[in-house]
Amino acid sequence: MTGVTPILEANGLIKRYGRVTALDRADFDLYPGEVLAVIGDNGAGKSTLIKALSGAVMPDQGVIRLHGRPVRFGNPMEARAAGIETVYQTLAVSPALGIADNLFLGREIRKPGILGSVFRMLDKAEMQRQARRELSELGLLTIQNINQAVETLSGGQRQGVAVARSAAFGSQVVILDEPTAALGVKESRRVLNLIRQLRDQGLPIVLISHNMPHVFEVADRIHVHRLGRRAAVIRPDTHSMSDAVAIMTGATEVEPGVA
């Protein structure tokens, strides 16, 4: 991968909470068109790393670069404005609102002209049209009623809505936090297909997951986080799940970046 500029990279991130060091000179890089899985034991600092990348946490030290240019995100909104979308484990969807409403929540489209500027009228037809297009691009459009309340959907369908939202607005990077954790076998499979599909559309993806089989199935590279920093980057075709677990738990010492 040398010679290619990473889409998103971080160098020497440090984040301390009181006397606890959550990030200890952590590095990170994500290259164009790949699925990068981030794994690590509980407390390894992977969620702090992801929060730093998605703007939810400001690192004490270190640099984050987007397309090689240093960026600083004061809050998640700034990261989103820069094209980094995060699908949270809780999905951040509003159950009683419809699918289209949820897709555009916080970024509604108003009607053109005086209706939009003075009367602040929403362009519902346009939002529904775009929502339909986005869902059908992801192969999700067997949903007949785009205004159906999200709470009437299954877990996988909700995940689909949340992923569709991030795909619609995430122009640079999509971060998925444990997307299959709450799902059954069949629905997990569909979400994994969805991840591949997004990758094939050229959108690089950061996947945080505890599920080793899922990680090994879908990831191009695997970032193993341990004790607040990147312990190794491995590839599913050169390492096994046992290797990954060994690095994760410290049973195997690896020189950083060897893989």
């Binding site: 969807v93 009228m121 929403l122 992801l138 999700l140 949903i143 569909r190 090994f216 199935e217 046992s242």
Partner: protein
């Protein structure tokens, strides 16, 4: 130590393989055969005003049978509309707050305080009536701002915050009015604008007041704001799941604050309509208005758990209460049975809401 890498369908376990080959995509809408009960449930779930509307129609029919033609006379029906003007208007404010998963116990106190301010500004200080009205409206908005500040800045539960301000606003009202009413004649002489809401006109034998028309216009305006603007979507999303709304990029504190300010302003409009309806300003008026407004919202099908409900449900809820009170009075039933019936209505409404709110029946 090394395991085979699970890649491709060969390594899938049997059940995963079954899942892989089965039809369907991630978000498939399955239109399975539904039992009648589930169909009814789904209908009411999707149409929150349907249940209260049904109750309104049935109760009107019941009173036609019970008290006869008199009840259905245009004059009587328009009287019901006049009787619900104040509670209906306060209900609009209450609905906005309840949609955000809050509750406002101070709506009645804000209304009375604002009406006293309007009256004293015009009658005692001799301000131009329109200016007195504006000061009164601003008073309501400031009261709302205080409630909103307590809820969003000090993070007090809305119930506690407004329980406190209810007493504070009511005490201020007694102090500022010196516990004295302003008589109708005085207002009529100095500031007839304040009584505008009581002006009536006849139409097809019915008697409408400007006040009740303004209330209906307010309902339409708030309906538009809730359903056709981003602000309205954000109000629902904030009440539905505040954390999710926050993560989706909605500044929920700002939304909440705006809701409390708008609610305060609407309470002040109710104050204006109250002066129109009674002609006078009384610091003792509207004491039961708090709970009556909550009653209208709840009977109208808006969930006390936030994020669900519709503004026209509240209008219907207020009308249901109005129909029952009016009908029972016409039937010559003792007033205590009106209270009894309203109490029963609340219990039935909330029970129904809990059933409807469930995703699957």
């Amino acid at each position: 130590m090394t395991q085979p890498k699970p890649s491709g369908p060969h390594d899938l376990t049997a059940h995963e393989h079954a899942a892989e080959t089965s039809v369907g995509q991630v978000a498939r809408f399955e239109e399975e055969a539904l039992s009648l009960g589930r169909r009814i449930h789904r209908f009411f779930h999707a149409n929150p005003t349907a249940a209260p509307a049904l109750v309104l129609v049935v109760s009107v029919l019941a009173f036609v049978v019970l008290v006869g033609e008199r009840f259905l006379a245009p004059f009587n029906l328009s009287l019901v509309l006049q009787q619900v003007t104040i509670i209906g208007t306060l209900g609009i404010a209450q609905t906005l707050i309840i949609l955000t998963m809050g509750i406002d116990l101070s709506v009645g106190a804000i209304m009375v305080l604002s009406s006293v301010v309007m009256g004293r500004m015009a009658v005692d200080y001799g301000l131009p009536p329109s200016l007195a009205l504006a000061v009164g409206l601003a008073t309501g908005a400031i009261c709302g701002l205080i409630n909103g500040g307590l809820v969003t800045r000090l993070k007090l539960p809305p119930f506690i915050a407004t329980l406190g301000t209810w007493n504070v606003f009511f005490a201020l009202n007694l102090w500022y009015s010196k516990s004295e009413a302003i008589r109708s004649q005085e207002i009529a002489a100095t500031a007839p604008l304040l009584q505008w809401g009581g002006t009536a006109f006849e139409l097809f034998g019915a008697r409408f007041t400007y006040g009740s028309i303004l209330m209906l216009a307010l309902f339409c305006g708030v309906w538009y704001a809730l359903n056709w603007t981003a602000w309205g979507r954000h109000v629902y999303a904030t009440g539905d799941d505040k954390d999710a709304a926050e993560l989706a990029g909605i500044r929920t504190r700002r939304v909440l604050l705006s809701v409390y300010i708008v609610a305060g302003l609407i309470c002040a409009i109710a104050a204006w309509l109250l002066i129109g309806r009674t002609g006078s300003v009384s610091p003792q008026a509207g004491f039961t208005a708090n709970l009556d407004s909550i009653t209208a919202v709840v009977i109208g099908g808006t969930s006390l758990f936030g994020g669900r409900g519709s503004i026209f449900g509240t209008l219907i809820g207020a009308l249901i209460v109005g129909v029952f009170r009016n009908g029972l009075a016409l039937a010559g039933v003792d007033v205590l049975w009106q209270e009894f019936t309203v109490g029963m209505l609340i219990i039935v409404a909330v029970t129904t809401d809990q059933w409807i709110r469930r995703v699957a029946a």
